[in-house]
């Protein structure tokens, strides 16, 4: 394990401290209870507050998306571990301006349970809270007999569009509805060429041979659903995008946002090679590439790999996508 860290037990603390130092114009950071990253000007009068969070190790998600037009607060837990209810409750209180608070929760047992408790506690303090569970990962079969699909890179699109709706003044009900709509129209799938190593574990989350690829990985260094031999990028892209297209399904003339997301250790040059093929597949199917996003936004530490996300949009959702956003990791329009 070779990392730019000091003490494996302090990576989250020091990463949050560095984030706070770099973005003091955008956020303030609560360290007790640890940690809450709050939009500098929260609570914003009259606005629904948006809170998300989850285990650390997925940077820039979620703290990198705190700011105008996106989240009001992010709650980073320990490495790959959902935060406890205390900081979630604290975040909820700090961003509540009386218009209510939306919790955006990735669908993992730990996240769901801890946010659930925090929401109960907030309700008990008189804060109106709604929750939206994000579960965009098509690698996991959604059924009554599993924990359901995971929330992966699509989460950032839920945060972006719901954030824009909150910023324009939509009500809590409406913002929650938009978040649910986005979740229902976004699908993702990822793969890894190399695993990541959780600092305190000191060993890779799984082992991969020099010519193996893990397909259908999550964002917590979980192994995926299948291991195959390494193939050319275009073929691997097909293996990700086809299940995505079939799942919703995405059809001819649909308009989509295409997100090609690096898992943390993948260079931009490879993401663009992936993007090239993904866009080609969409063109072949007559699907309209309305917007493109390429970068490492929802990561698994230094994992080498990529995920592909498609979001089906209409005019209203596209307006929300295009709306100004000013956060550490996503910024346009201001």
């Amino acid at each position: 394990m070779k990392k730019l860290i000091n003490d494996p037990a302090k990576t989250v603390d020091e990463g949050v401290a560095g984030f706070a130092a770099a973005h003091s114009d955008l956020v303030r950071v609560v360290i007790d209870p640890p940690f809450v990253v709050v939009r500098a000007d929260a609570p914003v009068a009259g606005k629904v507050g948006l809170v998300s969070g989850g285990g650390s190790g997925h940077e820039p998600l979620h703290a990198g998306f705190v700011g105008h037009g996106m989240l009001d607060a992010a709650v980073p837990g320990a490495m790959f571990t959902s935060p406890t209810p205390d900081p979630i409750l604290e975040a909820t209180k700090q961003v509540d301006a009386g218009a209510g608070v939306l919790h955006i929760v990735k669908n993992y047992t730990g996240d769901v349970l801890n946010f659930e408790t925090a929401a109960d506690l907030a309700l008990a303090e008189g804060i109106e809270v709604q929750s939206v569970i994000v579960d965009d990962d098509v690698a996991v079969k959604d059924s009554l007999y599993t924990a359901g699909r995971r929330g992966v890179a699509g989460t950032m699109l839920v945060e972006k569009l719901a954030g824009a709706a909150a910023e324009r003044g939509d009500s809590l009900d409406r913002v929650a509805e938009i978040a649910r709509t986005v979740n229902s129209q976004v699908r993702s799938m990822g793969l890894a060429l190399a695993p990541c190593t959780v600092p305190h574990a000191g060993e890779p989350s799984f082992e991969l041979g020099e010519d193996e690829v893990e397909i259908g990985i999550g964002i917590h260094g979980e192994p995926g659903r299948a291991r195959i031999a390494l193939e050319p990028a275009d073929r691997l892209v097909d293996r990700l995008i086809e299940p995505i297209l079939e799942d919703l399904p995405f059809a001819k003339d649909d308009r989509v946002v295409l997100l090609v997301n690096g898992m943390g250790g993948t260079p931009m040059s490879e993401l663009y090679i992936v993007f090239r093929r993904a866009a080609e597949v969409l063109a072949e199917r007559g699907i309209d590439l309305a917007r493109s996003l390429v970068g490492s936004y929802v990561t698994s530490l230094e994992m080498q790999g990529v995920s592909i996300t498609l979001l089906k949009v209409d005019d209203d959702l596209l307006d929300l996508y295009d709306a100004p956003v000013h956060t550490a990791a996503l910024r346009w329009g201001r």
Binding site: G77, A78, T109, N114, T146, A201, S205, G218, G221, E222
Partner: protein, 207 residues
């Protein structure tokens, strides 16, 4: 001693703290195989925090008071799935214990049952879903059938939990992160079931 008092409960928890610290990397390794490799760290973080708070207890706390302290501390320090689940288990156990100064065999079975029911209510896992429930449920059943000696009840619960944990190995998971793996989870023991077995084994061994 015919029943388990608050001092015993405290000794048990102190022993759990030590045992989790010792077996932390083993639990994490189990979680790395079919989860995200943090279960040992999560519990250790929580129980270390518990250790720091035990001195805030009364001189002669009730079992319920100790269990409640463990519950609230785990809830606010563990996170992940295990935090709310163990937190709920200890919280429900504390509520079942009430302010009784000692737990006799019947009381102990009530407490264990409440813990298990709390986990099931929160996590919605059924038996054979390959979760900690697969250690808790057999433990509760064995405890209920063990008669009216608390030591026998503890021993029965610990042994059944250990067997339950082992019995998760051939299963496909239907809850928690291991469920994402489908067939590939087969052959691995569930970390939460293992930590449950460990906690109950320490109870049986605590005098």
């Amino acid at each position: 001693m015919s029943g388990l008092d608050g001092a015993w409960t405290r000794r048990w928890i102190e022993a759990v703290v030590a045992e989790i610290a010792t077996r932390k990397s083993e639990l994490t390794a189990l979680d790395r195989a079919i989860g995200d490799g943090d279960h040992g760290e999560n519990l250790d973080r929580g129980f270390q925090a518990v250790l720091g708070k035990l001195d805030a207890l009364d001189d002669a706390p009730t079992p319920g008071a100790v269990l409640k302290l463990v519950a609230t501390t785990l809830i606010s320090t563990v996170g992940g799935a295990a935090g709310p689940l163990y937190g709920t288990a200890f919280l429900k156990a504390a509520m079942a214990a009430g302010d009784r100064p000692e737990l006799d065999a019947t009381g102990l079975v009530e407490v264990l049952t409440a813990a298990r029911d709390g986990i099931v209510a929160r996590g919605k896992a059924e038996p054979n879903d390959k979760t900690m429930v697969d250690a808790w449920s057999p433990a509760v059943e064995a405890a209920g059938a063990a008669g009216d000696d608390v030591r026998a009840v503890l021993e029965a619960a610990a042994s059944a939990a250990a067997e339950g944990a082992i019995a998760t190995e051939p299963l496909v998971a239907h809850k928690g992160r291991a469920s994402y793996l489908g067939e590939r989870a087969i052959g691995h023991r569930d970390p939460g079931a293992e930590s449950t077995a460990l906690i109950l084994r320490v109870a049986a061994d605590t005098r």
